[in-house]
């Protein structure tokens, strides 16, 4: 079991959170959708696992490289 921290690639705002803590996710599933400069930027699961922590909520602002979620991989 490994904990993988997922970072935002951009500075922006959280538009939508697509998963809940405890959800099982596959590689490439969209966890969170960020919004920056009128573009939607999806944050995807880098590998399959379970959502351990969601560290942001809609309308939160995020910085580049900020950890936005943690998933536990099998």
């Amino acid at each position: 079991m490994a904990r993988v921290q997922i970072e935002s690639e951009v500075t922006g705002n959280v538009w939508k959170v697509e998963v809940a803590a405890g959800d099982a996710v596959q590689e490439g599933d969209v966890l969170i959708i960020l919004e920056s400069m009128k573009m939607e930027i999806p944050v995807e699961a880098p590998e399959a696992g379970k959502v351990a922590e969601l560290l942001v909520a809609p309308e939160d602002s995020v910085e580049e490289d900020q950890v936005v979620a943690v998933i536990e991989t099998a």
Partner: protein, 458 residues
């Protein structure tokens, strides 16, 4: 003529409108959010009006605040620019109700063209070609029936949409059904309206649009632009005239666009966007506002479209502004515009930060529209357009070359920009040959991913 124009916008377009007002001898009032206090349009306008806050929802798209600011500034007209509230019919009618002239067409015209199936119906009835498509789709049964009638592949489009946002392509019934729910949710989220419809997906179309001017009685087409170099349905490079399209073919579609807008009593500047595939034009949408790429038409025709837009709103007649005998009759000028965006070309991600260096070049045959001042920040709150570079010349090759030189000479530090991508496009044999379509740029980027640190090649 108006006495004082309130500008409900920011950046490159706000500065462009300030310039047109100054040249017309009209006062301008620059609106600004708390992030834009140091922007050049604020310094250059006659007066300014603060819209407190950062987010667009609190500032430039806040209808109450914008109208209150325009009233207390004593404006008798309002220019919405593009984006933000420019195509919001409720805003346009509330501006008029406040006793301020809205610089744009009538609210019901904005509403008709804003609803895409209604716009298609209007254009088709007026004799303008439209691609096979459907009315609004209510349920899955109607969806499948419409798709079978249109033929695969199809595109699911938001009816209240525009600018390419929220569109989904489906190549089979299974894909279509899977895309339906998410397309509706996307449309609801982006436009506050979940209605969607279907249109045939044309094979490798070119985006060609017609610049229109109308005074309520007469409408004139003053030329076309080609805007096929796009990524995420957003234009990157535009030019006039469109290379390699027969002038008779353009004249015919221009006349049809004139007829369609005259039937609507169109009174302002506007653009009829089309897709050209297999030598046939098909209606895309009407934009009832100034466009980002208006400058290439200005460069080849010698017209000032923003001044004309303001004078039409003030009630001047088209035949006086643009006597038929002096109307542009084709041109021996060529113009190419490159949009400099604050984004990483490789990862296609927006880039924020402070503009530690921002120095527009001054070059012969190069028009630069720069929206920022050195030291200002690019923030997540607004769009990523940093500047536009427009090269003009007596040949297409020279116009492209001048644009390339202008993009290279623009010094920007503090954010990532797409200048490397623009240069790669402007040098590409496909672009030089005029052989690009709306999917070209993304297919090139997919085919040739550049390793980090290496020069970007397409």
């Amino acid at each position: 003529m108006f006495r004082r124009v309130f500008i409900a916008n920011r950046g490159v377009v706000a500065r462009r409108i300030v310039r047109a007002c100054s040249e017309l001898g009209v006062e301008s009032v620059a609106a600004y959010s708390d992030l834009d206090r140091a922007a050049p349009h604020v310094a250059e306008a006659t007066a300014s009006a603060r819209l407190p806050g950062y987010r667009a929802a609190d500032t430039y798209v806040n209808i109450e605040r914008v109208i209150a600011a325009a009233k207390s500034a004593g404006a008798d007209a309002l220019h919405p620019g593009y984006g933000f509230l420019a195509e919001n019919p409720d805003f346009a009618s509330r501006v008029a109700a406040a006793g301020i002239a809205f610089i744009g067409p009538a609210p019901d015209v904005i509403r008709t063209f804003g609803e895409k199936t209604g716009a298609r119906r209007h254009m088709e009835q007026a004799g303008f070609p439209v691609a096979p498509g459907s009315e609004l789709i209510e349920d899955e049964r109607a969806l499948s029936a419409a798709a079978r009638r249109i033929g695969w592949p199809v595109m699911l489009k938001p009816a209240a949409g525009g600018g390419g946002i929220g569109m989904r392509v489906a190549r089979s019934e299974a894909e279509l059904v899977a895309a339906f729910a998410s397309a509706k949710a996307l449309a609801q989220g982006a436009f506050g309206n979940a209605a969607v419809y279907l249109e045939a997906l044309l094979p490798n179309p070119r985006h060609i649009e017609l610049q229109m001017l109308g005074d309520g009685k007469r409408v004139r087409c003053v030329g076309e632009r080609e805007c096929s170099v796009q990524r995420r349905h957003q234009k990157v490079i535009e030019e006039a005239p469109a290379p390699g399209v027969r002038s008779g073919h353009l004249a015919d579609i221009g006349e049809r666009a004139v007829a369609a807008l005259e039937a609507m009593g169109y009174a302002s500047l506007g653009t009829v966007e089309t897709l050209l595939a297999k030598r046939r034009f098909a209606f895309l949408e009407v934009n009832t506002r100034l466009q980002v790429e208006h400058g290439v038409t200005e460069e080849v025709t010698g017209l000032d479209l923003v001044q004309l837009q303001i004078r039409l709103a003030a009630g001047e007649r088209l035949d006086e502004l643009l006597p038929p005998e002096r109307a542009p009759q084709g041109s021996n000028r060529f113009a190419v515009q490159a949009r400099i965006y604050a984004e990483d070309s490789r990862r296609m991600l927006p880039s924020t930060g402070r503009l530690s260096t921002y120095r527009p070049p001054r070059l012969t045959g190069v028009r630069v529209e720069a929206g920022y001042a050195e030291g200002q920040a690019m923030t997540p709150y607004y769009d990523p357009l940093l500047a536009k570079v427009i090269g003009t010349g007596p040949t297409r090759e020279l116009a492209i070359g001048r644009t390339l030189v202008g993009v290279k000479a623009f010094e920007i530090r503090g954010v990532d920009t797409n200048r490397d991508l623009l240069q790669a496009i402007l040098r590409h044999p496909d672009f030089l040959a005029g052989k690009v379509h709306t999917g070209w740029l993304e297919s090139r980027l997919k085919a040739a991913p550049a390793p980090a640190g290496a020069p970007l090649l397409l």
